[in-house]
């Protein structure tokens, strides 16, 4: 019980502290706040990819990095001036950002499918999900 309450309090403190980053960089109406959030998320994903031993953890970290890139795309698209429309079709530049983000999402889904099935295939041979025990090439 005490652990649950303490964990909740700790989690809310962390959330508020990290949320202050969002306000300090200008809130929801400034481009730099989106870029700041995305760069921090990308760094978190990079750390997870480099530091974790479990192959699935590394794949989850890759997903975090892909989401950070998507956030950058959406952030830039939502602050584009209207003058950057396509001169031939007059297409909405903000909509193009959404389309790019959706395509990135589809590619991320394909990547997750193939990556997880590769991990499952390796797991069937090596009986471990830890990447530092995949040392067949070392011997």
């Amino acid at each position: 019980m005490i652990r649950v309450i303490g964990g909740t309090i700790l989690a809310s403190i962390v959330i508020v502290t990290l949320g202050l980053i969002g306000i300090a960089t200008g809130g929801s109406r400034s481009l730099s706040s989106y870029l700041t959030l995305a760069s921090i998320l990308f760094a978190i994903g990079m750390f997870g990819f480099l530091a974790r031993r479990n192959a699935i953890s590394m794949l989850m970290s890759i997903e975090l990095m892909l989401n950070a890139v998507n956030l950058v795309i959406i952030g830039f698209a939502s602050f584009l001036p209207d003058a950057s429309a396509n001169p031939q079709t007059g297409a909405n530049p903000h909509a193009s950002g959404s389309v790019i983000a959706l395509l990135v999402m589809a590619v991320a889904a394909a990547e997750a499918t193939v990556g997880l099935s590769i991990i499952l295939a390796i797991f069937r041979n090596k009986k471990t999900p830890l990447v530092d025990e995949y040392d067949a090439m070392r011997q």
Binding site: V16, R29, L37, S39, I40, M46, A55, A95, T113
Partner: protein
Amino acid sequence: MTLPSTVPILGIPWADILFALFAGTMLASGLAVVVMRDIIRCGLAMMVCFGALAGIYVMAGAPLVGAAQVLVYIGAISVLVLFAIMLTQTKTAPTRLAFQTQAIPAAIASVVLVVVVLLAIGSTAWGATADQRATDTSAVATVLFSDWVLPFEVVGVLLLAAVIGGVFLAKRERGKDVLE
């Protein structure tokens, strides 16, 4: 009775409070994904992170991307990851050592990266940024099926190839397990 447009005492707009809440949830659960030892909890924290990110997309004026985030990431990819976690958990696998020996250099590299990128963001003058505006979904549809129709079709082929490749790779080879 209507709410005032800013928070009464602090003078901060409500949108900023919501944005900070989403941002804090996203970053905290993202940290939880990479530092927690129990990998099932990592997967659940990843779902929370994607949900908060969907909220940020909606606040950035891209509601369709937010909906697709919920459908694709929380609905599909997280479930896939959780299934893979359950399929690869062994009783003999050590859960104590979650990190490799290179964790400290990795942490230093990540902090250096974030500091460099933040300095670059802060020192760049984003000259011609317009006011933020929402994207209406019909405009997304128009653009998707006029300017972006070729990438759309190519992504469809890519997804088909990925599904077939995934089935082929994860398929149990017949007779091999019996021999072992």
